[in-house]
């Protein structure tokens, strides 16, 4: 039985009962409990099932390292899987369910895997699912998907609010134990701006449970006094419930503050992600106790020794009546003493060391506790709960000497400094032979921009495990950080502690050291992922020597706890199996975050409408009022079409096209990129940017131009207007304005910096309206006195025109094949002109059209579209655009590249029109097949579709595509198998489907 003790529990408030639900059961706890302590108080030791074998799993730890006690928490928009019971503060109304079992925690079908364990060895996934090949899709994958993963992904939108903070500090201390407080005090007293963050709700860390005296007073009093001193310093900020999540380059640090997890109904954001720049980071992150590897060490009731005393001292909870302690170091004796002092029984302390312990062992003996040295656990008895242990000699192979009844096994394999944050950004580790752990190598810290180390480890996190050594080390760390900043630490002595003499730890990686194969198969390393000693040994036998490979092969340390308990034990087993020392094997990489942080915190405020800015044209509101169907184009929203009533999108597009071709259409073209290139060297610069000769363009005239990258590939196209001798206006694609602007700036700033040219992006300064169709001139003549006649305003010219009070620049260009005027006005006049045109156009049945009608009309005319006909591998020559490439220029961006052998290969696919034999629409992107197969047994291909539409003008499907020797194969029919099972036969034709001679636009 685990239960609430009649007394004790320094964190809980027995006057404040709290009610919560576990798998629907109503349970009681106290304010100050964690979910884990409250579950134990209700005799709920078994809390889940393991991942692979679905074995019963109990609470093992009391902090962030807990691998087993993970729950689904909350409901709907507040549902979250994999929440750790040991770090979840209890609150009234908390509701959790256990994970990874079906149909219930007690009766789980998946537990059958446990009996098949010998069929699930290391590398099981790699070995099993390879053959037969067909079985993956039909047999394995459905089963794996059904049983994969711990917990379930939330389905609803997160109901909470999250935020980011940006902060700058001289020194950030991670960890609010005695070491962190002392380091902060030393740095703060020197005048540094300090932040101290503590991941739990309380200050003082382990020392509050383990006790001891500092400067002659109890450690708890030292902690309160330190806190008071820090609170009095204006340069020090203290934060609880805030974890140091990750350390990154140049002193960048993520702090994860959980503001409302313990009281969900309080106002404000739930989590806050602190994005901190710190000159120095002190990692006072403590140490984590290691489990011991003996058979049955995963049975619920086997716990870390430190956790057992935490539950007794912090929460007044007894994990069990009879606690067997098994250890290889002195610290676990503290647990035996705490258990005894709580009035519970310790049948035996099994100390694997022949010589036994130091001062603490004497104290335990004085309390009348039986101590057996040189002994260990042969196996644990019980399935869903510990019932007893068999005792054996540590030196032997597991011959049972005695069976002892108990309901808890408190184990301690020694302590590993929490080196995660030190290591995140490249801090190196050394193996400390005497303490049997990895600790930071002070000579190899992570380096900042100035080449100096910016992380300073302190206390237990630096391997200084005892209270006295830890405080002295932390004091030095705080001073060091201050001195690094050029500050002068105060002249005060480090706190005095009289550490009791301890006997040295003796490493125990397997218990007993000669454990038989049967025992090793039941000795767990990774509780969550079900990795056993035998799995790591098998991996070593199969040739896995690298610790990183072994990790991936066995899944050791790959669970949500990231191997906080298992890594060191696992690599010790691996080292032993490979017959080499532990430091030679090394550790796996420590990656942030230290424990999982919420996706909400990562997103912060960037969600919904604030995810990214939305760019609106001056006519946006009108489109919206018309019920336009929107198409996102970069950050812009453009109307795809304007459906009327119940009209389908396809019908709306067809109507818009026919109205434009027959009378008058209007297009909001404001999103078109507009770049001004100006200066004495503007012409020279334009000649380098475009494949065409732009310097010869006359003011008042327009020219369609192509831009290539230095690799020769087409990157953008558009109409260039020469405004005056030194000024060009370059139109780019909608998505291309910023990119092409940056392209121009790059060449100007980094290659031709002595050229006198200036580039300005004026895209948003102008609204642009396409007035398109046979009645385009008529409607404009209603609004201006200026000469818009065919003779007075030629095709590919531009001129200034006034429409009443609105001054405009009008371009006679066409992307539709119709008579067309593009009118640019200052953005503030865009909506007014749009309204004027709608009113004046009424008699012609004026019809605004969207991007799809624009696309179809350009395809009918055989005009290319960047991003459809181009994909970053297409050169202008592929598209039959040789006419737009100047032969007279010595140089332009892409010219040299286009002379390379592959670029002039006659076998490059070339642009053609494609006309389906039956008039249907070929799927976009379909490939044309050729005779034979390639080396992979796939059909050979000879071309692909780049654009495909239904043309309402022609009443049939039309397409453009790149085809091998296409222009030489006019009239030939080729086949395009679709993914819909149909094969489309299409005739190769000229890409201009409509009005080949341009009679409609030149009127």
């Amino acid at each position: 039985m685990s239960t609430r003790l009649a007394f004790g529990g320094r964190r809980i408030d027995r006057t404040k009962p709290v009610e919560f639900r576990f798998n629907g059961k109503r349970l009681k706890g106290f304010a100050g409990d964690t979910l884990a302590s409250a579950l134990l108080a209700n005799d709920q030791v078994m809390v889940g099932r393991s991942f692979k074998y679905h074995r019963p799993r109990g609470i093992v730890a009391s902090g962030a390292e807990e691998p087993n006690a993970l729950f689904n928490m909350g409901q709907g928009g507040r549902f979250e899987p994999n929440q750790r019971a040991t770090t979840t503060e209890l609150f009234d109304g908390l509701s959790v369910t256990s994970q990874n079992h079906w149909p219930s925690l007690e009766f789980d079908v998946g537990a059958i895997n446990n009996h098949l364990a010998r069929f699930f060895p290391a590398g099981f996934y790699y070995k099993t699912f390879m053959f037969p090949r067909f079985a993956w899709k039909h047999v394995y994958e459905p089963i794996v998907r059904q049983s994969a993963g711990l917990g379930r992904a939330p389905k609803d939108r997160d109901a909470d609010r999250y935020e980011h903070f940006y902060a700058f500090f001289d020194v950030v201390v991670i960890g609010g134990g005695v070491a962190g407080l002392q380091a902060a005090r030393a740095a703060g007293a020197a005048g540094a701006k300090v932040l101290v963050m503590e991941q739990t709700a309380d200050w003082g860390g382990r020392a509050m449970v383990d006790g001891g005296t500092v400067d002659g007073q109890p450690v708890a009093e030292f902690v309160s006094e330190s806190l008071a001193a820090l609170e009095a310093m204006e340069n020090v900020t203290l934060r609880t419930r805030m974890m140091g999540a990750g350390v990154y380059d140049h002193g960048y640090l993520l702090g994860y503050e959980r503001l409302r997890d313990h009281s969900p109904d309080a106002p404000g954001p739930r989590h806050r992600l602190w994005r901190i720049r710190a000159d120095r980071i002190v990692t006072a992150t403590g140490a984590i106790e290691r489990p011991l590897s003996f058979a049955g060490n995963d049975v619920p009731g086997v716990m870390l020794a430190s956790a057992v005393r935490d539950y007794i001292v912090d929460y007044g909870v007894s994990p069990g009546d009879r606690v067997v302690v098994v250890t290889n170091n002195d610290d676990a004796y503290r647990t035996a003493i705490a258990v005894r002092q709580a009035g519970l029984a310790v049948p035996v302390i099994l100390d694997a060391r022949l010589g036994g312990g130091g001062a603490l062992a004497e104290e335990a003996t004085k309390l009348g506790i039986r101590v057996e040295t040189g002994m260990g656990v042969a196996r644990v008895h019980g399935a869903r709960r510990v019932e007893g242990v068999s005792v054996c000699a540590q030196a032997g192979e597991g011959a049972v000497l005695e069976r002892i009844a108990c309901d808890v096994v408190a184990m301690s394999g020694g302590w590993s400094p929490v080196v995660h944050l030190w290591s995140h950004c490249g801090g190196k580790l050394v193996w400390d032979e005497a303490e049997a752990h990895f600790r930071p190598d002070g000579d190899k810290p992570p380096l900042g921009a100035d080449g100096a180390g910016f992380v300073v480890p302190a206390g237990a996190a630096n391997g200084a495990l005892s209270l006295g050594a830890g405080l002295a080390d932390a004091d030095a760390a705080g001073r060091r950080a201050a001195r690094d900043l050029g500050l002068k630490p105060a002249r005060s002595a480090a706190p005095e502690v009289g550490d009791a003499p301890e006997a040295p730890i003796e490493p125990v990686w397997l218990m007993p050291q000669g454990a038989s194969a049967g025992l090793r198969m039941k000795a767990w390393l990774d509780y969550q992922n079900d990795v056993k000693v035998s799995d790591v040994q098998l991996a070593a036998r199969e040739g896995y020597e690298s610790v990183e490979h072994t990790k991936r092969y066995t899944t050791l340390g790959m669970a949500t706890d990231q191997g906080k308990l298992s890594n060191i034990n696992g690599l010790a087993i691996l080292s032993d199996a490979l017959g080499r020392p532990i430091p030679q094997t090394g550790t796996t990489t420590f990656r942030p975050p230290y424990t999982p942080i919420s996706m909400g915190a990562i997103a912060g405020e960037a969600r919904g409408e604030t995810f990214q800015p939305l760019r609106r044209t001056p006519m946006h509101d009108w489109h919206e009022a018309q019920g336009a169907h929107w198409e996102p184009v970069g950050q812009w929203r453009r109307p795809y079409c304007y459906p009327r009533g119940e009209e389908s999108h396809a019908a709306a597009v067809a109507r818009e096209i026919m109205a434009t071709r027959e009378s008058l259409g209007l297009l909001d073209a404001s999103t078109l990129g507009k770049l001004i290139v100006k200066g004495p060297d503007a012409g020279r610069f334009m000649d380098m940017l475009y494949t065409n000769m732009m310097s010869t363009l006359k003011p008042g005239r327009c020219r369609y131009g192509l831009m290539c990258s230095e690799n020769g590939f087409l990157i953008d196209d558009g109409v260039v207007a020469r405004i005056d001798d030194q000024t060009f206006l370059c139109h780019t694609t909608t998505g291309g304005a910023e990119r092409i602007h940056a392209h121009m700036e790059e060449w100007l700033q980094t290659e031709w910096w002595d050229w006198q040219v200036y580039v300005a992006n004026v895209t948003e300064q102008f609204a642009q309206i396409g007035v398109v169709g046979p009645k385009a001139r008529k409607v404009l003549e209603k609004l201006t006195e200026d000469d818009l006649s065919a003779d007075g305003f030629a095709f590919m010219a531009w001129k200034d025109v006034t429409f009443g009070e609105i001054g405009a620049r009008v371009f006679r260009i066409s992307f539709s094949g119709e008579l067309s005027f593009e009118i640019a006005v200052p953005a503030s006049h865009g909506r007014a002109l749009w309204d004027k045109l709608l009113a004046a156009g009424q008699e012609f049945g004026v019809t605004p059209y969207g991007t799809e009608a624009l696309h179809v009309m350009r395809a009918e005319k055989g005009f290319i579209m960047i991003g459809d006909e181009t994909d970053g591998t297409v050169i202008p020559q592929d598209l039959g655009l040789d006419w737009a490439i100047s032969k007279k220029k010595d140089d332009y961006l892409g010219k040299r590249a286009q002379a390379r052998s592959h670029m002039s290969d006659p076998n490059r696919w070339k642009l053609v029109g494609l006309e389906t034999v039956d008039g249907s629409v070929i799927p976009d992107g379909a490939y044309a097949v050729a005779e034979g197969t390639n080396a992979n047994g796939q059909r050979n291909v000879q071309g692909r579709v780049t654009s495909s539409y239904f043309s309402p003008t022609l009443g049939r499907g039309i397409a453009m595509g790149l085809v091998l020797h296409g222009p030489d194969r006019m009239g030939e029919v080729i086949e395009f198998p679709g993914t819909d099972g149909k094969t489309y036969s299409a005739k190769i034709v000229d890409p201009v489907f409509y009005d080949k001679d341009g009679e409609k636009q030149n009127v």
């Binding site: 690799n711 010219k895 040299r896």
Partner: protein, 109 residues
């Protein structure tokens, strides 16, 4: 996340404020160059473990390109300087020499 200083506007900023632009001091080869010259210009880039010269642009700032000399192994930054030069200035070379005596990078040392 690196901290870099833009020599054009003097701002010290987060890496997210900047955009990396690859190797610095590349000489352009255009029409008339050999296949090998042009190939190397486009594709043969330095990828050192140690001293490196890079182009960066202050995209979310003044918009200017500049050069940075830094160590790809330790992420130490030796200095930033104008993009409008064909070789690293002497004070940058000196700063590198102080930290990495005997360094070499392409034709510079």
């Amino acid at each position: 996340m690196l901290i870099l200083e833009c020599p054009c506007c003097g701002v010290k900023g987060e890496e997210t404020e900047f955009h990396g632009g690859g190797e610095a001091h590349i000489k352009r080869f255009g029409p008339g160059s050999s296949e090998e010259e042009f190939h190397d210009y486009l594709f043969a880039k330095e990828n050192p473990r140690g001293v490196h010269f890079e182009r960066w642009r202050h995209v979310n700032g003044c918009g200017k390109w500049f050069h940075v000399a830094r160590c790809t192994r330790t992420l130490e930054v030796f200095g930033s300087y104008s993009a409008q030069t064909t070789e690293p200035p002497q004070e940058i070379r000196d700063a590198i020499t102080a930290r990495r005596p005997g360094w070499r990078w392409r034709e510079f040392s």
